[in-house]
């Protein structure tokens, strides 16, 4: 079926909801319950009252959703206006006099609550929301003592699953529409809606089609009753038994703020915290429900050492001695160049720094890489002009040179969607295939895999007002004409089946644009921290190159490597040929993560010594000489760096079972055994050393990190005015309201701001200039040569799925069921040309290897290309990719 209909997602938002919300800079005077306040014109009364200390009860209104006026709970009396008004849809006006507790208002509130409770079951003792339920709380605070309703309440089958993660209890639902509005307005997945009418209104999905949204957990968090419950959390805790700690999510590089909650030393819940610059209260389902892996039986609880060919459990001193001995042995036989450190992109800043210091300062090897051929050159990431997420909202245009953000960086997808869809920022989509953000794009440019350069050139010209002859060029010029602000390029690996040179070249064509800034779309949780802290060849901690930082670091550390080392591909190749004899794997499994599995396998088989720092017995650890299990997310205080370069704290909520070591102590202990005592006792001392030593981290010490509400963007000298202390607005509300980030209380720090909860004081932060100039990326490479398209072959596109085969998903039962078998995604035309059908197994062969997969028709994949998820379990894309070739051509043959 063909249609030229505009998808709803592209309709201007004014055609979808009609209540304007646009507070301006000008203020008006409003008197609320006798107190006069200055409030921005256009602000909604309910929000204005809240910001000035008057809480107006509400169910449907949510700060991050558009007002809808469905529940009528927020009625107030406004002098001069007839009847009561709903404060959630009434903008303030000058001279307004508002009463929120008058007799008329309380009578109305009584009535509304009595009405809402008519059909609401009184099953609070068995309801997950009981104890933190707005309906309970507000009935107590504002409601009538008893009900006059004696008839039968309405009944539904309860609860029904509406997705693998969410259960719906229609009896408890009060029809506030928070979930349906979230799904439509924020997530862009309107898979739930109200069905029926009047007394039989209920939240529905379409027939048996589940609410498959990567953001479904947010509806549970904002539901003001227990109608939506999370299957992983159901009946696991009562709210009053929960202890919570503010932290950042560890599932991807966005590092959303969250409140991590535990009971009986078990993590049970992560709630989104409303960090204005980052996640604005939302989380993706992977981050929200990826908790159980921390307590998985598969976690390693004891170090292991290989004795007589068998890995056996050992004590920490023995295991560290064994690891140190193996390293010393390799140093003796092969010198520093015989050792390489891989990984660190899933750890924390502190361990990344200390691994870098151990490798480069103690061992003297520069063969260090946090990325396993799945990332971008550090030269680019560390040296490009960086954007922050809030830059998206005020951009002249957003250019996507990135993988599917909805799968890889879900909350960044929400922010880009909001910028493009709600704030009208032109979005230019340069990609091989359609993805989650394509429906919101102003201009869509498609290119052959491995060849984005020409498309980027068109964009670069159009963004300086030269449309060229293309329609998209004109569309971009029309959309951006007269707009100010930075051009934000979201830069990532569009496909791990092609060489990164291609995308780097495309990015280089945009570097000449005025006010261009790049936002990295690398997805591993702390890949940016690892790169910033020197876990990459040719760089030292703090975004300085080996040469630029040589003097500084020789002073700080005593020594640095002489020459630039190999990257991951080079390390693996050298290990495969025996040049590198010892591999230290820091929380990474090359067999699962490296896009070229054959190379990784050869390297691991050939290496004499493999020291695996791993929380799980993954395939790499399985063949290791020594396995060192670190504590993980939720078990240790630390910091992480997100894709903006924002350093944020990670909280400790539970005590690890068994005998694990804080991840940063492992390199420190190894260093001590290799003759270099780092003399670091606490994680704060590590942070202070980073602030002292690493140029980009200048000024970002433990004390500042504790006090900065939304973290600190590096380098501090450029972002000092964005650091906020204290707390905006009123105190932290209940879980269903936006939870605001809170700085850690600092006792006797004389630099701490006054404790008054005033309006986000943006105090002057001392921002020292980095002692060494930071690296700049300023050498646009020549266009890489791309082989011409081969009419007989398909060109592979491989990207990551949200629920891939990583440890978080695999060891979390709630998420493990959401993974998919890898398939070969083909355009219908190629499918027919090859004479295959959906579900047929075919043999896929490339120059590198061959695998058998089932065929799936995929409309997003253009003709001539093939799509395979890169991070699925089992044989798949990594068996087909050669890290060195510009593109991956594959042939398909049917197998009987």
């Amino acid at each position: 079926m063909t249609t030229n209909a505009v998808p709803m997602s592209q309709w201007p938002s004014e055609h979808r909801y009609t209540i304007p919300v646009a507070p301006g800079p000008e203020t008006v005077t409003v008197t609320i319950d006798g107190r006069a306040a200055q409030i921005p014109r256009g602000e909604l009364l309910i929000k204005a009252a809240q910001d000035h200390g008057t809480y107006i009860p509400r169910f449907c209104w949510h700060e991050r959703l558009k007002p809808v006026g469905m529940c009528r709970m927020c009625l107030v009396e406004i002098e001069g206006m007839r009847g009561l008004q709903i404060s959630c849809a009434t903008p303030v006006a000058d001279g307004m006099v508002v009463h929120t507790t008058s007799d008329a208002v309380t009578t109305a509130q009584d009535g509304i609550l009595e009405f809402l409770l008519i059909n609401h079951p009184l099953d609070c003792p068995v309801c997950d929301r009981g104890g933190e339920c707005p309906l309970q709380d507000q009935t107590l605070a504002f409601g009538p003592g008893e009900s006059r309703f004696v008839e039968e309440k309405r009944h539904f089958e309860k609860p029904v699953p509406i997705s693998d993660l969410v259960m719906l209890d229609r009896e408890r639902c009060i029809q506030c529409g928070r979930c349906t509005r979230f799904a439509d307005e924020v997530a862009g997945d309107p898979l739930i809606d109200f069905g029926g009418r009047g007394g039989s209104t209920e939240v529905i999905t379409y027939l048996d089609e589940p609410f498959h949204s990567s953001f479904s957990g947010n509806t549970v968090q904002i539901c003001p009753v227990g109608a939506l419950t999370a299957r992983p959390y159901r009946f696991r805790a009562r709210p009053w038994d929960l202890a919570s700690t503010e932290t950042s999510c560890g599932a991807c590089a966005v590092a959303c703020r969250g409140s991590l909650e535990s009971t009986s030393n078990r993590l049970v819940r992560l709630l989104g915290v409303d960090s204005e610059p980052v996640n604005q209260g939302w989380l993706c389902d992977k981050g929200r429900y990826g908790l159980d892996w921390v307590h998985s039986d598969a976690r390693l609880r004891q170090p292991m050492v290989r004795r007589a060919g068998e890995l056996v459990e050992s004590s920490w001193p023995d295991a560290l001695d064994a690891a140190a001995a193996a390293i010393r042995n390799t140093l003796d036989t092969h010198g520093p160049n015989g050792i390489a450190v891989l990984g660190g992109s899933r750890g924390v800043n502190e361990d990344a720094y200390l691994w870098a210091r151990l490798a480069k300062g103690v061992l003297g090897t520069d063969h260090v890489d946090a990325q396993l051929g799945d990332g971008l050159p550090a030269d680019v990431v560390l040296g490009m002009p960086r954007a922050t997420i809030p830059d998206l909202d005020r951009a002249k245009a957003i250019v996507l040179l990135a993988p599917d953000l909805k799968e890889e960086l879900p909350v960044l997808y929400l922010r880009v969607r909001r910028a493009a869809h709600d704030l009208g920022v032109p979005l230019v989509d340069v990609a091989v295939r359609d993805h989650g953000l394509t429906p919101y794009a102003t201009a869509v440019l498609r290119h052959a895999p491995g060849d984005p350069g020409a498309a980027a050139g068109v964009v670069a010209d159009a963004l300086v007002g030269r449309p060229g002859r293309t329609k998209v060029g004109k569309a971009i010029v029309d959309a951006t004409d007269g707009r100010d602000g930075p051009v934000v390029v979201i830069l990532g690996r569009t496909s791990v089946a092609e060489h990164p040179d291609a995308i780097v070249h495309a990015a280089s064509r945009l570097t000449g644009l005025p006010q261009v800034r790049f936002l990295s779309a690398l997805a591993n949780p702390n890949v940016h921290g690892a790169l910033d802290l020197g876990l990459t060849p040719g760089f030292l901690p703090g975004r300085v190159s080996l040469d630029a930082g040589r003097d500084h670091f020789t002073k700080a550390w005593g020594a640095v490597p002489d020459a630039v080392g190999r990257d991951a591909a080079g390390i693996l190749r050298a290990a495969a040929t025996g040049e590198i004899a010892a591999l230290v794997l820091v929380g990474c499994d090359p067999l699962a993560e490296c896009p070229d599995r054959n190379l990784a396998r050869a390297a691991l088989e050939q290496a004499d010594t493999v020291i695996a720092v791993s929380a799980f017995m993954d395939t790499a650890a399985f063949g290791a000489t020594v396995v060192l299990p670190p504590t993980v997310w939720g078990e240790q205080s630390a910091t992480t760096t997100n894709l903006e370069g924002r350093v944020v704290r990670l909280g400790r909520r539970v005590t690890p079972d068994g005998s694990t070591l804080e991840s940063w102590r492992i390199p420190a202990e190894l260093a001590a055994r290799l003759g270099s005592d780092f003399d670091l006792e606490t994680v704060d001392e590590v942070q202070d050393e980073i602030a002292r030593v690493a140029p980009a981290f200048a000024g970002v010490d433990a004390s500042l990190l504790r006090r900065a509400r939304d973290g600190v963007v590096l380098p501090l000298a450029d972002h000092a005015d964005e650091v906020t202390f204290g707390r905006a607005g009123a105190g932290p509300g209940p879980s269903w309201e936006p939870i605001l980030p809170v700085p850690e209380v600092v006792g006797d720090d004389d630099r701490s701001p006054s404790t008054s909860a005033s309006d986000s004081p943006s105090a002057a932060v001392p921002a020292p200039t980095p002692p060494v100039p930071l690296h700049r990326w300023d050498a646009p490479p020549d266009a890489p040569s791309v082989p011409p398209l081969d009419a007989y072959a398909l060109r592979l596109v491989a990207g990551h799925a949200l629920y891939g085969a990583d440890a978080i998903v695999a060891a979390t039962p709630a998420l493990a069921s959401l993974t998919h078998e890898p398939t070969l995604g083909l355009n219908a035309r190629d499918r027919d040309r090859l004479g295959v059908h959906d579900g047929d197994r075919v043999r896929i062969t490339t120059a590198r290897g061959s695998v058998d997969l089932a065929v799936r028709t995929d409309a997003q994949t253009p003709p001539g290309t093939a799509w395979i998820v890169a991070n699925a379990a089992g044989p798949g894309a990594p068996d087909l990719i050669d890290l060195t070739s510009p593109v991956t051509e594959l042939r398909v043959e049917t197998i009987s």
């Binding site: 249609t3 030229n4 209909a5 709803m8 809606d193 069905g195 009418r197 529905i204 379409y206 027939l207």
Partner: protein, 167 residues
């Protein structure tokens, strides 16, 4: 089941009348209902695709209106009023008798409705939304038979083909 190719062309004309395609949900649901006698899941999915909506949103709208049948219905929908005026004039009797009479019929569906504003002719009923009454069960059956054998021309199950009215 669902919209034919001709219907789809018709649907496109309807969509073109509106600045935003979502506005065409109701006329398209009528179109689908007139085609099949009910709104089938296939039709809802087609409409969703035509309008760039999710099927959940189409179902949400469709289920709001009782005049959209989401189960197969007869070509004639007989709506018997049992609201106040009709009730005191025998509306329930009329409803019960018609219902049992046409229980087995695949052509006639009998349903109970609230006030249809035909109180001066109580007990009133509609056949495909054309008003009739007052009538007892025999009289009503006689009217229905006239529709069935073509002596009276019935509107469509959606009441009429209103979308054909010129702009």
């Amino acid at each position: 089941m669902g919209l034919t190719d001709a219907d789809q062309r018709r649907a496109q004309q309807i969509i073109d009348r509106y600045p935003y395609p979502k506005s065409a949900v109701l006329p398209l649901l009528h179109l689908a209902q007139d085609r099949d006698g009910w709104v089938s899941p296939e039709a809802m999915e087609q409409i969703a695709e035509l309008l760039g909506l999710t099927p959940a949103l189409v179902l949400g709208t469709c289920s709001f209106y009782t005049m959209f049948k989401r189960e197969p219905a007869g070509a004639l929908v007989v709506s018997v009023c049992t609201n106040l005026s009709c009730m005191v004039n025998g509306g329930f009797d009329l409803f019960d008798q018609l219902r049992s009479r046409y229980q087995e019929s695949s052509d006639v569906s009998v349903e109970e409705v609230e006030c249809i504003a035909h109180c001066d002719h109580a007990p009133a009923f509609q056949v495909n939304y054309d008003f009739h009454g007052p009538a007892d069960a025999h009289g009503a059956a006689d009217v229905i038979e006239q529709y069935l054998d073509g002596r009276l021309a019935a509107r469509t199950i959606s009441g009429t083909a209103r979308q054909e009215v010129p702009r």
